[in-house]
Amino acid sequence: MVATSHDVMPDIELYQPTDEDNALALADNLGRDGWLLAGGQDTFGWLKDRNKNPQAMIELTRVDAWKGIRETTDGVEIGALTTLTEIARDPILTEHYEVLAKAASLVASPQIRNVGTLGGNLNQDARCWYYRRGLDCYRAGGNICYADSPQGLNREHALFGASRCVAVSPSDTAPALVALDATMVIASASGQRTMSAEDYFIGPARDITHMTALNAGEILTAVRLPATWANAEFYFEKVADRNVWDFALVNVAAAMKMAGDSIEDVRLACGAVECTPRRLQTVENALRGQSRSEALAEQAGQLAVAGAEPLNYNHFKVPLMANLVKRAVRG
């Protein structure tokens, strides 16, 4: 019987490594018992509620190598521990990759952006309220989904790609990275690997208890934005109930390369409609080579929502998503 409301941090150990090797060694030793702590804005709630009970926190923010925004030969590399405020205000990003800066500026609240990091925003866990309440649902390793049931309160849940769990990707920066065709840099004690942002996020069909491809002992250390999409025409919009603190009901990120009025190339992604940021490849294919018009935008919106499977209370997300894609294409 769980019958006490907890809101104070439980006893838990804290490590504050200051260099990469130590951090990776700790992550490796502790595995899933070690909680990777960045800004902590998706950490303390879990711990205070006693709904996640790791043995120790490994604070990553003291590793300078994983912070900051640097220009590279083929784009920009952003340390995963860079705060959202820094990203939102960074001159390189605001000038060349505005879609990411905009997305970061719309996360949560100013104070959360001040300590919250890009890595934290990308790796945050699902916001399904049943899951957050600490119920032993599928995502928590259980055998039931409370949200997708005949009377489940699933207004904020998935339109696509649900498999037992119907939670959605809560991140605002994730769709921006997918639109930018970013590369995720993942380090572990045994080395480094990279993968595309699109592949980084995984749905419940493949892993119902984790939202990213990070394995135990691995740390997301950086995100690389390719020069290919620098200075493209960008669009980011987030619709949420409240204009502060809220997670998107739907968000959209777009990067478009225009040749005059014609769409030369485009990448589009929506958040909060699937457990992963949903890249809209069919829409992209339909847009490529077309000249931009209201009719095309309308068509793109409709194409974007094809195959949506709404639940009890999220039918509105279908027209909302269509409209946001339409607006993204309209520019």
């Binding site: 809101d7 941090m9 006893d11 902590g40 104070q111 959360i112």
Partner: protein
């Protein structure tokens, strides 16, 4: 017995009794022994309102807990204790921060300022505080320390914000009384006072 260990325990004992004047029951008692190597040291010195304070801080302790229950700085309020209200906003190196949602150990190298630290040595209110008084910005007052700190943080970064900029900067602070308009009037008046 290792003499160093004994001495360290002794120091902890002194610190603990020093803190007994304030509440400590919210925060959980220490498991002093058998802590793994490499984990943080509990006994730290932190800069709060310009004073270096020695304090025994549990690894998991939030800054709000340390301020309220170790140092007796109860001006920092806990409205939700999970980053959803802003009442616990303090400045760390001039950056508005939810004290309920950062660890003290994460902030230990920073310059921490709470609402108690704003008045001048002679007891003069900070311009933001003065302006909030003049505009009667607070209602129930529970969110006020957080609003004050967010406003002070803004004015340090941007001494002449527009009303819209002030609104954005303070947007991480809930006021259930709905005194937003009065707080913004206060910030705009503070701009004049500064």
């Amino acid at each position: 017995m290792n003499p160093n260990l004994t001495r360290r325990r002794f120091i902890k004992g002194v610190i603990a009794s020093g803190a007994a004047a304030t509440t400590t029951g919210l925060w959980y008692a220490a498991n002093g022994q058998d802590r793994p190597a490499g984990a943080v040291e509990r006994l730290i010195r932190i800069n709060v309102n310009g004073l270096m304070r020695s304090v025994d801080v549990a690894p998991q302790e939030t800054l709000a807990s340390t301020l309220r229950y170790r140092l007796g700085l109860t001006g920092t309020k806990l409205g939700c204790n999970r980053g959803e209200c802003g009442a616990c906003t303090v400045l760390v190196d001039d950056i508005p921060t939810y004290a309920c949602s950062v660890l003290t150990h994460s902030m230990k190298n920073g310059r921490i300022e709470t609402v108690e630290g704003l008045e001048s040595a002679s007891g003069e209110l900070h311009p933001v505080q003065q302006a909030f008084v003049e505009e009667l910005s607070p209602q129930c007052g529970y969110c006020t320390p957080g609003q004050v700190m967010a406003a002070v943080g803004l004015l340090r970064e941007n001494p002449t914000p527009t009303r819209e900029e002030a609104r954005q900067a303070l947007s991480g602070n809930i006021c259930r009384c709905g005194s937003y308009d009065s707080y913004l009037n206060g910030v705009m008046r503070a701009v004049e006072l500064v």
